[in-house]
Symmetry: C2
Subunit: 323 residues, 2 copies
């Protein structure tokens, strides 16, 4: 039986979760969020996450410099910590590299890792290098979040507004430009994405109920929040924030920019929900209301051209599959 | 320039370490040990490690069941925590899997992970699954060690005795049997290695100065201790503990069992050093004195048939390369 036959990633998450035992009372949140949440001290929780970039799945050396791979690996993991409302602190780097790799490649990869570690004040405290056919960069990261600011996927409440930070679809359309040998501003969004660590810190202080980062597209992230919170959602297609560049670049490809936003991912923006009484506080930041949370029985719907559709989770759901 | 041109793994570790900045005062030990050591509370340090198993490098599906891969991944990481004198507590599982993998494969892999997590009371608190050509299992693990029991690679002192736990060479000779389609008891040692978590806890209480686990062979581990401690060592070939089965199985292969012990690895036994006044306390456990620590200027020597050789680090040093 293939993964798609059990409902794709969402089926697999439930399956793995049901078989796991916890042997500690210090697990506040385990499988099913952007990072694990562990008891730490009176004021803070410890956050623990990992993410892997695999050659020819998440990046190709045709497009990426080794620095950009290193940079993206740190941004991707920092984004997981940001989505919990936390601050990244320590990381370990696990590299899988072909046997004949040049030392210069490793140097440049670490230049990228070090550049972003400096930006976020993350200490690289270890790692290992393994031989492999294709390059893989797996980073494990620790961070901290003040207990009162912890944001989980599971906190969404009925009647919450659903928000999206910044613009989405920009990374996926950039990748499509690269694949089609076309130029455009979105290419940089794909090769050098930046997570929203600063913004996430402001959002949790303004008071939100749930949050997730955009790793796999808005559709997938909204579904994660709904699954973990036991709610449904209505998302308005015409509210999803996209930059002019994303729209221009999608046009070059004769594609609908909305598809990149809903199903593309790797924007490392934030999807979050909050009570509408927080709207004025939240509006100070560049965030957009894209929908609202409804009862579970209503499902997860997309309103597009005044028609209601079931919000699917996209075509590439086994690219990266967070459990 | 290739990695071998800068002195292999040991050159690369120094190179990476020299470029890393730390942005925290809470790092007690970073790159260069089995796990990172981070300040936690008055009594304990937090340990943080990661290790990856890659298909056709660390395992082949010709020999390994999915359960055994999962089991080995937990043992391997637990061994890193054990080598610090600590206890593993939390783990995150990062899987890279071919697109057409069966759900049953994932189930069985997790059966192995869960079996060993139960044994050691490790809580699996998250992870992710990524597409890839070949299977990779990357685990990141957290553990704790009482401050007074912390064992580092860097603690070896001149005149320390060098010890080895259990028997070594057993995993590597088992792999060689499999590759040559021969039978033997060592095969199980290769497919289902067990780390020495209990023993490590007893050793740190008995009072040792440095410790490392046998991931890459006795030669490589002794060199790690010497490099990190700024000392040399003399190792006696005829003292290196090998089981009868290892010797029998090496004979079947017309190979010298000592080569498997020195250069094979994945035994997950412990190499450690201690003052000779600890000898009586340590002898209660099944440990063997294999050499002694000398000044750095004497280098790292192997005494074999009354002749002195430089102890090389083996032929497969870019199989897994811990930094």
């Amino acid at each position: 039986m293939k993964i798609k036959n059990i409902g794709g990633e969402f089926g697999l998450i439930g399956r793995i979760k049901s078989k796991i035992n916890l042997y500690s009372n210090d697990v506040v949140a385990g499988i099913g969020d952007d990072a694990a949440v562990l008891r730490y001290d009176n004021k803070n929780y410890l956050l623990f996450t990992t993410d892997m970039l695999v050659e020819n799945v998440h990046f190709s050396l045709k497009y990426y410099s080794p620095q950009q791979i290193g940079m993206k690996a740190i941004e991707q993991n920092s984004s997981d910590i940001a989505a919990m409302g936390g601050i990244p602190k320590f990381a370990i780097v696990s590299l899988a590299l072909p046997n004949d790799i040049d030392v210069e490649f490793v140097d440049k990869l670490y230049n990228g890792i070090n550049k972003k570690s400096k930006k976020y004040k993350i200490s690289i405290v270890g790692g290992n290098i393994t031989r492999s056919k294709e390059i893989a960069v797996s980073i494990a990261m620790l961070g901290f979040v003040e207990k009162k600011y912890l944001a989980l996927r599971s906190g969404a409440k009925i009647n919450d507004l659903v928000f999206c930070s910044g613009d989405v679809g920009k990374s996926a359309v950039g990748l499509e430009l690269l694949k089609n040998s076309k130029n455009g501003h979105s290419i940089k969004n794909h090769l050098e994405p930046e997570c929203r660590l600063d913004l996430a810190g402001k959002l949790v202080k303004a008071g939100i109920n749930s949050m997730i980062d955009v790793s796999d597209g808005v559709a997938s992230e909204v579904r994660h929040i709904c699954e973990e919170s036991g709610v449904g959602a209505v998302i308005y297609a015409d509210k999803i924030p996209m930059s002019k560049n994303t729209i221009i670049d999608a046009k070059k490809l004769h594609k609908n920019p909305l598809d990149f936003a809903l199903y593309g991912g790797e924007d490392f923006e934030l999807i979050f929900t909050a009570n509408k009484n927080r709207l004025n506080k939240l509006k100070k930041h560049k965030v957009t209301v894209i929908g609202r949370i409804v009862g579970k029985k209503y499902g997860i719907k997309l309103i597009k051209n005044n028609k209601k559709y079931n919000l699917k989770i996209g075509f590439d759901h086994f690219k990266r599959l967070r459990v």
